[in-house]
Amino acid sequence: MASRGPPGARGGMNTRFAQFKLVLLGESAVGKDQFDSYRESTIGAAFLTQTISLDENTTVKFEIWDTAGQERYKSLAPMYYRNANCAVVVYDITQASSLDKAKSWVKELQRQANESIIIALAGNKLDLVSEQPDKRAVSTADAEAYAKEAGLLFFETSAKTAENVRDLFTAIARRLPLDQVGPRHSRPGQRQGVSLNPESPNTNVGGPCAC
């Protein structure tokens, strides 16, 4: 599998590089599988990455954790939420029930994840509604009102055409505490614990993730 490009500017004067864990949640048919626009497939990847340049000097890299289907039968491990800095909860604007499901994921996040987690609500499949407006089942105003009440960022997106996806990641990045350094905020390879990998160069063959 091809390796992704280098994760933006690092080090140097006045530049900031921060890495955050982002978890992706939502019913299986809402299109969250296509949410990373570079994604080839979930299969075999520990997690994918998305890099956002906030400005010339600030680069934010998201380590995107997919549920790998473990949510299907209510079997998502606590490890999934552990140290997550941000979450994108996806619903399908053409399926009213998917917003209810999204609301229950938000509750689950508030119960299991860090108190400071930043949650974004994404109403996906905007492309379908642009073509056929009568397909819309969840009004923008209703979802926005819920997001506001629950303290969530809100976007309507099309993961298929990438509409608003970058804006969504950028909005999350702007909310993240870029100046605080925590275990997940540091640069890759600078974890707080010991590294198990052998001293000799150990290339990560087989994963599309270049972190």
Binding site: I43, A68, Q70, R72, Y73, Q192, L196
Partner: protein, 464 residues
């Protein structure tokens, strides 16, 4: 909700570490895996529980009381049910690295490994020396003994089982460890901490077994290499507790297409001509509960899913202690292992203490979790068997101890009935026997040796 497939290559029952590693390996190898646990959490017998769940499991409080409330947020606690550490250079580390599961976990060193000498009021603990230089500084030995120990450790470093020139004239095929110790004129107390605190044997049987010397030397070497890897102690430990390990391998399995179902009880294993061919199960926690049936080419699982197909080979005693101070004599370390060799306290099996703390994200700041364990030798008064260990722990805020925990092993190797059963987590302080079991089950079930190096290269993925 997606349909359960009509057939799987492998159905795995129980989400203990052994089961999760095997599930991960089979999924990576392209097998279609269904992984089930009757509990609503991962880890089975090797789970880490929060303090409320721990109180509820042991039931040691009066109705109406909520004693966990005085210990802060319940989710800040991840208390292991089975006390073990990873050897830094051991096989589990190798599997974690080869499968990339290290990406989901962070590890910290265990700060020290200690051994007790003497008993009662005269008991002292000292750090286990890991290399020749430490041996020379160790209070465990007198001045002349230190030199003998130094030359022994240096010899272990150069020992090559295939090269008789390194064997000191001993015949390794028949040699006992006693003969090796004799060769270096080591004193009894030195043999005691070498065998128990470095080779990590639980009893003295290894000393007189002909031909066992190379294994013992290999174990001492593993200890030394593991200490050399990060210093301080041979052990590492995952942040948030050992329960993270099965979760990490379960995620690996899921990423390669494995299907996970917690809260699902197995109602029946179906057989054809004496061979297991599938399961009938019920997933609860939803309305209505979901009953389903699926075929399986083979079934793996922990002993609790196969009553009648296992035997009890011993019992372990464990006391989980919540304390608010570091262990005495360990330089206020945030974590440690203390071994009380059997000979020091008139037993046949060693007593182990494993201690971790807030530094490992397993409890709030100021607390420590110490687990005292040993193999049961009597049929009553089990708390007395643990007493030397509990004394060493000092003042205890909460103590959780159950009846002796049976250790199970399968009666058969699975080739006849397609059922491959793991062993219970034993009394050793590390995972080397667990990974031996993983390799053993894999070779019986898959008909080939497990090679983890390069496992994720050239992978295949099951069709869903």
């Amino acid at each position: 909700m997606d349909e359960i497939a009509p057939e799987y290559d492998v159905v795995v029952l129980g989400t203990g570490l052994t089961e999760c590693i095997l599930s991960g390996v089979f999924s990576v190898k392209g097998k279609k895996v269904l992984h089930i646990d009757r509990n609503n959490h991962y880890g089975g017998e090797a789970a880490s529980l929060n303090i409320e769940a721990l109180f509820k499991k042991y039931g040691n409080y009066s109705p109406g009381e909520e004693p966990w409330k005085q210990y802060g947020r319940v989710n800040d606690w991840n208390i292991d049910l089975v006390p073990k550490f990873l050897m830094s250079s051991g096989e589990l580390t190798n599997i974690l690295v080869s499968t990339d599961v290290t990406r989901y976990l962070e590890f910290k060193q265990v700060a020290g490994s200690y051994v007790q000498q003497g008993a009662g009021s005269r008991a002292t603990v000292a750090k286990v020396p890991s290399d020749a230089a430490e041996a020379l500084r160790s209070p465990l030995m007198g001045i002349f003994e230190k030199r003998r120990m130094k030359s022994f450790i240096e010899w272990v470093g150069t020992f090559d089982p295939k090269d008789p020139a390194t064997h000191k004239g001993l015949n390794m095929a028949t040699c006992t460890m006693k003969e090796v110790y004799d060769k270096f004129s080591l004193e009894t107390t030195t043999r005691d901490f070498i065998g128990h605190a470095m080779a990590l044997y639980l009893s003295d049987g290894y000393i007189s077994t002909p031909g066992q010397a190379p294994e013992a030397i290999e174990r001492i070497r593993l200890y030394g290499n593991s200490v050399a890897r990060y210093g301080k102690s041979p052990y590492i430990y995952p942040l948030y507790g050992l329960g993270e390990l099965p979760q990490g391998f379960a995620r690996l399995s899921a990423i390669y297409g494995g299907t996970y179902m917690l809260g699902t009880s197995v109602d029946e294993i179906t057989y054809e001509d004496g061979k297991a061919v599938g399961i009938k199960a019920t997933m609860s926690g939803m309305e209505p509960e979901m009953k389903f049936e699926t075929k399986a080419k083979m079934i793996l699982g922990d002993p609790s899913y196969f009553p009648g197909k296992t035997k009890v080979v011993g019992h372990v005693l464990r006391a989980i202690c919540i304390i608010d101070h570091p262990l005495d004599g360990t330089s206020d370390n945030d974590s440690c292992q203390i071994i009380i060799p059997q000979s020091q306290v008139g037993r046949h099996n060693d007593i182990y203490i494993a201690c971790v703390s807030a530094a490992h994200n397993v409890c709030p700041k100021g607390y420590y979790i110490a687990i005292v364990s040993t193999i049961a030798e009597g049929s009553a008064n089990h708390h007395l068997e643990l007493e030397p260990g509990l004394k060493r722990v000092g003042k205890i805020k909460e103590q959780f101890m159950s009846a002796p925990i049976p250790l199970y092993e399968p009666l058969e190797d699975g080739t006849k009935d397609n059922i491959f059963i793991s062993k219970s987590y034993d009394a050793t302080s590390h995972f080397e026997t667990t990974t031996d079991d993983v390799r053993d089950i894999y070779s019986r079930a898959a008909g080939e040796e497990l090679v983890v190096e390069g496992l994720r290269e050239g992978i295949q993925v099951a069709e869903n």
